[in-house]
Amino acid sequence: MKAIDVLIIDDSSVMRKIVGRALRQSGMEMGAILEAGDGVEGLAQVRTNRLDLILCDINMPVMDGMEFLRQLRTEEKGKGISVVMVTTEGSESHVIDAISLGARGYIRKPFTAEQVKESVLGVLEPQS
């Protein structure tokens, strides 16, 4: 498997660093780990980078994770990127909504590094 280029979208910089660290500790070969503070910044990163994976929060100011998923579908460079939601909002309806909008996985906070690894491998392996 080639090195994975990842974008982490979360309004908390501490949470972005925790998710990034969990990815680095996962044993997967990581390429670039980019960060964005909301959906608008996330879309800008999608337009200017080649990404394999996006880990995205739901509750964020400016543009939340659900709207980001909606807009990602209309982005040419968004096609083929696996998206995993990372959020405290892990209710069944949120999961269904996120999956219907194209998300491929779901991680509920609090999480362990092992859970991040399992979710990420789960969405990347079928494509590799």
Partner: protein
């Protein structure tokens, strides 16, 4: 007084739809036709709030901070407890949850989350405390049947300073769980509105 000489469109586009009336161009919506909201059912878990709060706190600290929580203290927050993160809860359960602690405890939380030593109450410390409050509240509602769907959380707010008191304006219940983190006291309070 205006006299209505035509019928506004109703229900053609389903309950909750809205638009302009083609006859008079006024804005209309059929939200008034929505069924009346049922009164909020009182939620009270078997065994009370305390054990659920404790379990929620413990999981967040163990999973995200890699640290166990120590025994609670038998005194309320004093002026030294000068950082508070607060989050609003709305829906089937209404109220606020707050995490209040000393600067040293908050710096310790940020340090544990980031894997570095943090000694000054900077932006990362406030961010980390807000996230701890957010995760404890989110974990708490997931542990109560039906609340994950029926209840929403606001974005957390962080307050600096310890010389204040909280006066909920609605009647309700207050539950406080205290514990120690790296030897420093931490209080998590749940203020519920009836």
């Amino acid at each position: 007084m205006s006299v209505l000489t035509h019928t506004h469109p109703e229900l053609e586009e389903g309950i909750g739809s809205a638009g302009h009336c083609p006859a008079c161009h006024s804005l209309w919506s059929n939200s008034a036709l929505l069924p009346k909201k049922a009164p909020r059912e009182r939620v009270f878990p078997e065994g009370g709030w305390f054990p659920i709060m404790r379990a929620s706190i413990r999981e967040v600290f163990e999973m995200m901070l890699g640290s166990e929580t120590g025994p609670g203290v038998d005194y309320p927050p004093n002026h030294d407890a000068n950082l508070t993160a607060m989050i609003g809860i709305a829906g089937q359960l209404m109220g606020t949850m707050a995490v209040r602690c000393t600067t040293a405890a908050a710096c310790g939380m940020a340090g544990a989350m980031l894997g570095i030593e943090v000694t000054e109450p900077n932006e990362d410390v406030r961010d980390a405390l807000g996230e701890v409050c957010n995760m404890v509240a989110g974990n708490f509602k997931h542990k109560i049947s039906g609340l994950a769907e029926g209840c929403s959380l606001s974005c957390p707010t962080v307050i600096s300073g310890g010389d204040y008191q909280v006066h909920p304006l609605a009647q309700g219940e207050r539950v406080v769980v205290s514990f120690t983190f790296q030897g420093e006291p931490v209080w998590v309070s749940l203020d519920l509105h009836e």
